[in-house]
Amino acid sequence: MQHHPLASKVRDDFPILKREINDFPLAYLDNAATTQKPNCVIDSLLDFYSTHNSNVSRGVYTLAEEATEIYEEGRESIAKFIGATDSGNIIFTRGTTESINLVASAWAQHNLKTGDRIIVTEMEHHSNLVPWQMAAQASGAELVYWPITPEAGSTSVGLLELEELEELLTDSVKLLAVTAVSNVLGTVNPIAKIVEMAHERGIPVLVDAAQAVARMPIDVSGLDCDFLAFSGHKVYGPTGIGVLYAKKERLDEMQPFQGGGGMIRQVGRQSSTWADSPQKFEAGTPPVAEVSGLAAALEYVSDVGISEIQKHEKELTAHALNRFAEFSDLELYGPQDTCDRTGVLSFNLRNVHPHDVAQVLDESGIAVRAGHHCTQILHERLGVAASVRMSFGIYNEVSEIDRLFSSLDRARDIFLD
């Protein structure tokens, strides 16, 4: 057994990891889909509902003040976590998907016209594609794809090349939407450089940080991105809570997203006026318990230490890459080097369908995902309908990766004769 100081330190914080699945200890390797929750997050939800529950901003009584404080303090701590100087730039949503839809409808649709272009990449998750298709169709704009590098099997596969971007950045481009980390290839994109290039031409950039937030430091001020979106549930927090960071200049250009309570200043019979940001974009009763859970999760991640997390993930990824190299019937997609990627690894076992691989792994207690992982454009580009994906979290151990590779033998036994 190798030593994994981080995993052994944190595993006890996650009660679900004690579960057995099909008589095997759970090896949870689907962290790109959602992460497990530490006790401090579960406790914060419990504590909110057992001691502070009430609606925010609409009462003068003690509980309502407590709930409001929890909600707004949550906003402060989340702003701090991603390096935003002002919590007024933080809008709460249901997740990455809703954050991106918010930008697409509250900003893009009002700022795009026929002939304008939106640059997206071939590796985007459907939630960073479909909202732009909808905004484009509504405004007469068009989507332009920044392709990924093609050479299958070469060490540079699945990267975005800045020279390609240079060509795409024309005057008609009004937005660039790009993921910081691919949820299939694991590729880490050079976001700072991308933002810089786009900004030289005055083009705003939206960063999908859904996969990045639990894997690397995020600093919106340093990046200078215009929008950044992520989900609480992928960073050890609860489901149902997401974040949209928007720069002041962009916030000023945005119309409301949904109408309702909390987002208004004055309501007249025929029309109304809007509250200031961020309330302007948060209609209805907000997810207070979830915000408190997310704040607890981010505090937990900070305590563990992002640099520790990166080190641990690099170790696991390096080990997995070495194991992949042992098998000629495994095709791994994405960069083959830990410099360009994180611990999200998608692959196929030759002549066995990903569903069948995932099912056999589950029979040994190993949780991985099979499918197109909401990236049909990317899978088309890779020339496969689906893949198997393993993705690491802070509690994963090298031994779990080894279990996966051993269990692949069972899949070979069952399906290949």
Binding site: N22, D23, H353, P354, H355, D356, Q359, V360, E363, A370, G371, H372, Q376, H379, A385, A386, R410, D413, I414, F415, D417
Partner: protein
């Protein structure tokens, strides 16, 4: 080794050596089915004589469960009428519901599939061929 596996011999036989795989060149009816969750695709082609299915083929890009189900369905529907197989398809659907316990005699031969129903994520895989079949039947009615 695979004693607790869902992949039993009969299913694997069908998955490895699917019956009636491919496409009919001049089908009377044709339908595709798609699983948006995983991108799997299937095309069913049928040749009729009157109301009776006298030949069929399935072209599947899918997992072993999907292929096995298509293969078993093909064996099952040959020389039966469209309305008969539509009825069977409905019974099969019903038998895949969580709360259904009794399996009608008529679909006893589909039991290896029905036994997989605790794996709810695989229901769509099993149903793909049957969805295409229902689509064919619906086309024929209109």
């Amino acid at each position: 080794m695979s004693t607790n596996s869902i992949y039993r011999d009969l299913l694997l036989d069908h998955a490895r050596h699917p019956k009636y795989s491919g496409c009919l060149e001049h089908p009377d009816l044709k339908a595709s089915a798609f699983n948006p969750l995983c991108g799997d695709e299937l095309e069913l082609t049928l040749a009729l004589s009157g109301e009776t299915i006298h030949d069929c083929r399935t072209q599947v890009r899918g997992c072993s469960i999907c292929i096995a189900s298509a293969s078993m369905m093909s064996e099952f529907i040959l020389e039966r009428t469209l309305s008969e197989v539509l009825q069977i398809s409905k019974e099969f659907s019903k038998s895949l519901r969580k709360d259904t316990e009794d399996i009608p005699e008529t679909i006893e031969s589909l039991r290896p599939l029905i036994d997989l129903k605790p794996h709810r994520s695989r229901i769509k895989c099993m149903r793909l061929a049957w969805d295409a079949l229902e689509d064919c039947a619906a086309q024929h009615q209109t």
